[in-house]
Amino acid sequence: QSIIDEVWNLSEPVAIVQHHDAITGTARQHVTDDYSLRLGKGMESCEDVINKAFRKLQPAVSLVSSNVSVPNLTSPYRFCHLLNISSCAPTEEMKDFIVTIYNPLARDLHNEYVRMPVPTPGWDVYSQNGLIQTQIVPIPQSVQQIPGRSSTAFYELIFAIDILPGLTLTNFRIIQNLSSPTNQLNPVFTGGQANTSAAS
């Protein structure tokens, strides 16, 4: 019953924003702000449910190369709400963490990529098969300067998932490694008006 109540905390505001003013954006600003607040609270409530579900559904495998048995994880899962502005408190604060990724589709996903904002460029990522290839790219200045963005993330860490079966979880362990090479951070080409003598 308690889990149903937690899910209801989101389904109720989702029902409320079916109103035509909420769907089309014709509500007054303070009403729209209230819709956002209700949805935000509902999402947080559902994260508790996802937290429990992820623990229950964890595959009985270890991340062998990093000696981690994920089913025995005791720390709670955290989520990112600000990925749309390349900001994510968990990945900015933690230096050694597990990323659990769930495919909500009932079919396999192939060749998917995971991106996460991070504060420093050097990171090692382990899958169940060991260390995997990663890439680091800088977050554009224009994103870093979005009004109200308060983030320590200057880079995005990228890695690939070859296959993620439908309705299935997979895990990666991510460890900060400041000595990792970061030569991909430099652009291979730059251009535009700002780079011409006329503009300067």
């Binding site: 981690v68 048995s69 899962y77 990724i101 890439q135």
Partner: protein
């Protein structure tokens, strides 16, 4: 020779014009399709709300002022990028583009993907000149689409649209731009052949949120991505569509995905359904601290 080219292991090739920094061509299979992409704006109708015909553009109605600007053509924000940088790596090639002080974008080509990703950042839209603005992005190709384009019906089937024509009532031509705008919940599509079953060359643009869209010229996909307006349209909300975040206008960031499919590409047009589903049912990602005291050794 004035071009910058990058490609991935799926055989997708993206070509940029080195001088302007704009997208120039997308190659997929044996198809080499010229594609230009830029940002534009319409001025919002100020109106005076005393008559229906003089209503302002606002929350309820899209009403670009096509007499104030160049007919039904939106104004390009620039004809050459302020700056751009290209980053290459094992998983993705990214082009970081700066169009103006208030518009920037990242174009991405992942190594094992048949999509070209556009992540745009727009705002705060300047209104100090006294005009509200409706910001659009256009993907322009030379395809001969004969005024026909397709928009989806809440992620279900695609609906055929024809420029300057309505199925159920006469087209008035009074407001050509607004009258040709349609809802785009998940994707918009143009094809060289009128009927999708013929598998002609097809361009699909998928979006991450519902937007308005049209094709005001043959071969174009136009999507409305941001609006900042300074007059209420007097339909009831009582506020202009002028969201202020942190004392400034709102900044929006979102994604479009370009899929070139159909004849000559090796990718069936039906691929758009799978991609749209992947976007809608995105992966769920969660993080947990892996400090030694939180985890047992295997």
């Amino acid at each position: 020779d004035g071009e910058y080219l990058f490609k991935n292991s799926k055989g997708v090739i993206v070509v940029l014009n080195k001088t302007t920094g704009f997208l120039k061509t997308v190659k997929q299979g044996s198809l080499e399709l010229p594609v230009n992409q830029n940002f534009y704006y319409y001025l919002g109708m100020a109106g005076n709300n005393s008559k229906f015909a003089w209503r302002a553009s606002g929350a309820y109605v899209l009403r670009p002022n096509t007499t104030k600007s160049a007919g039904d053509l939106p104004t390009p924000v620039t004809d050459r990028l302020l700056s751009y940088s290209i980053y290459e790596g094992v998983h993705v090639t990214e082009v970081h583009q700066v169009f103006t002080s208030w518009i920037s974008q990242v174009i991405r080509l992942y190594d094992k993907s048949d999509l070209v990703e556009f992540e745009w950042l727009v705002g705060p839209v300047p209104v100090e000149d006294g005009y509200g603005k409706e910001v659009v992005t256009k993907y322009t190709t030379p395809m001969k689409t004969k005024g026909v384009f397709f928009t989806d019906s809440n992620g279900r089937h695609l609906i055929r649209r024809e420029r300057n024509k309505r199925e159920t009532y006469p087209f008035s031509k009074f407001e050509k731009v607004a009258e040709n705008y349609y809802p785009v919940p998940s994707r918009m599509l143009i094809s060289e052949k009128d009927y999708l079953a013929l598998n002609g060359q097809t361009v699909v643009v998928l979006n991450d949120r519902s937007q308005g869209g049209t094709s005001m010229r043959d071969g174009e996909v136009e999507l409305l991505i941001h609006r900042r307006l300074i007059y209420d349209d007097a339909f009831g909300v009582g506020e202009p569509l002028n969201e202020k975040a942190f004392g400034k206008g709102l900044v929006v960031r979102g994604k479009h995905w370009l899929l070139v499919c159909g004849e000559g590409t090796g990718i069936p047009i039906s691929r758009n359904r799978e991609v749209a589903q992947n976007i809608f049912m995105e992966k769920v990602v969660a993080f947990a601290d892996a400090k030694v005291d939180n985890i047992s050794n295997s």
